[in-house]
């Protein structure tokens, strides 16, 4: 088990008197997709924010490639290959698509004592990925003018632009039409094959089941249960997940 890309040990997070996370243990390996499910308030978002460098854990260790790391800023997480697609996408509406894609990591070139933005370079870098994602709108459009699905594509493209090793997706399919969801799931499947580890948070159980090698249920700030799809029927698995969420057997209705 020492070949884990990401290893969390005893992660806790306290906000004042509230213990949101109480010792989360989690490992994710390369090419592995892990689904994270949990009721509202179970601590999913907090965990994602800790991994994304937004919050520091109150205690516990985060290891990447077996080396303990401190992710005290979003930039720390990104430079270590951890990318987050936030639930609200976290895009700047007044900026165009290209500016959003490279925000925080702009390509620059030296001109005398200055370092100008290298817009041509950035556009060239972005082109293959945008094509792969099926982006059919101009990168010069303002993000605020795009539809929900288009915005989501921008957020995904931004996360993939710098070849992440671990991709955290917080409700990535929430704003997508069914057709687009399939496209997105196919994409994640391909990323997995390329060795990217994925942590998927979704309310859509079917997405989680289709995509994930393991499903981890978070309850009261701890990993309460782990499920492995395979063998069971879809209905059985759904029922198991439902139970894992609440910790109580479902009363007759599956």
């Amino acid at each position: 088990m020492s070949d884990a890309l990401l290893k969390l040990t005893g992660i806790t997070k306290r906000f004042g008197p509230v213990d949101v996370l109480r010792g989360v243990e989690l490992e994710i390996r390369e090419s592995e997709a892990v689904g994270l499910i949990g009721d509202n308030g179970a601590g999913k978002s907090t965990l994602v924010k800790i991994l994304g460098g937004v919050y520091a854990p109150s205690s516990g260790t985060i290891e990447i490639d077996g080396v303990p790391v401190r992710l005290s800023e979003p930039l720390d997480a990104r430079t270590r290959g951890v990318e987050v697609i936030h639930q609200d996408l976290a895009l700047c509406d007044d900026l165009d698509v290209a500016s959003n894609l490279f925000l925080g990591r702009e390509a620059r070139r030296r001109v005398g004592p200055f370092r100008w933005l290298d817009r041509r370079q950035m556009r060239a870098d972005a082109a293959p990925l945008l094509e792969r994602l099926g982006v059919d709108f101009s990168v010069e459009r303002q993000v605020g003018e795009l539809s929900g699905g288009q915005r989501q594509l921008v957020a995904v493209a931004r996360a993939l632009q710098f070849s992440p090793r671990l991709l955290l997706m917080d409700e990535p399919t929430a704003a997508l039409s069914n057709k687009k969801v399939h496209h997105m799931l196919g994409l994640v499947e391909r990323l997995k094959q390329e060795g990217v580890a994925v942590l998927l948070i979704s309310h859509r159980f079917t997405d989680v089941i289709h995509l994930c090698d393991r499903i981890v249920a978070l309850r009261d700030g701890q990993v309460a249960q782990e499920l492995r799809p395979g063998g069971q029927s879809m209905a059985e698995l759904m029922a198991e997940m439902q139970v894992a969420l609440t910790g109580e057997p479902v009363g007759g209705v599956a």
């Binding site: 976290a90 500016s99 702009e106 933005l117 010069e140």
Partner: protein, 341 residues
Amino acid sequence: MSATPTASDSRPTGTAGALPRARSVVDWLTRSIGGVGLGLLFVLALEIVIFTSQSEFFLEADNLKNVGRAMTIVGIAAIGQTIVIIAGGFDLSIGSVMAAAGILSAYLISHGLPFGVGIAGALVLGCAIGMFNGAVVAYMRINPLIATLATLAMVRGLAFVITGGQAEVVTSQTYLDLGTNDFAGIPLVVILLVVLFLAVGFTIPRTRFGRYMYAIGSNARAARLAGVRTRRWRLVFFALSGTFAAIAGCVTVSRTGTAEPSANIGAELDVITAVILGGTSLAGGRGRLVGTFLGLLVIAVLNNGLILLQVPSYWQQVVKGGVLLGAVAWDELRRTRRDVE
């Protein structure tokens, strides 16, 4: 904006050949100076037509110089203010910073230091006050309106305390020349204003500084999540506002010949009016430096024309307010129409 292909563009353009060309000129202008800029150009043209027809003095070189000189102090400070407002902030302290910086420059020079050192000292002071504002806003998370209102009061008060309310007389001829001399028939201070506008206007689309200014003003949280060090950049934006205010303060001193602790009181209102008239959104994230420049020009020409027409100065205030309201309303109309499409 209209730069992107939308359904409305595919409509066949009329039979007259001049019509599409006129429209493409309008499109190009809209892209480069924005819809607000276009409106301001129209207002400016209107002003020029009216004042030229009403006053034989309006187009005289001396009068145009007056218009230019009248723009410089508010204009230089408006560069910094535009930066801060696009970045989602606000700087009320600039009038006080102008006075304090002006006093420091005159004081240093009258105590035997060279002109350049006096100016440098003033800029450092402006930058430091700006950084203080930025630190209070970014690190203590205090509302910029309140933070800079406090600085406005403190800096103005200190300027009176330190000078004992006395004006500092400028002893450097170079300093005075800056305010009165021309180069190639153009006042030096106007050249300074234009150079500063061009330098910052050139920098904004080409640097991280410019891009982060829009990003932080648009969605600071998103910028931070993307790895932008938003607090550090806020500090930079406010420091620039303080520095530009200091330059404006030095220009005030060079034009009046004395540095007074009561100088530039209320300047922030004129500066903010120009910036907002220029189309910069108070909510942050949207605005253009060229808009601020046009806003300044519209106000300066208007003030000048009203003086030439001997309109009582109280009416000038009323008209200025009306212009601001008109510009904002026009922008609002344009935006809602776009949303409907």
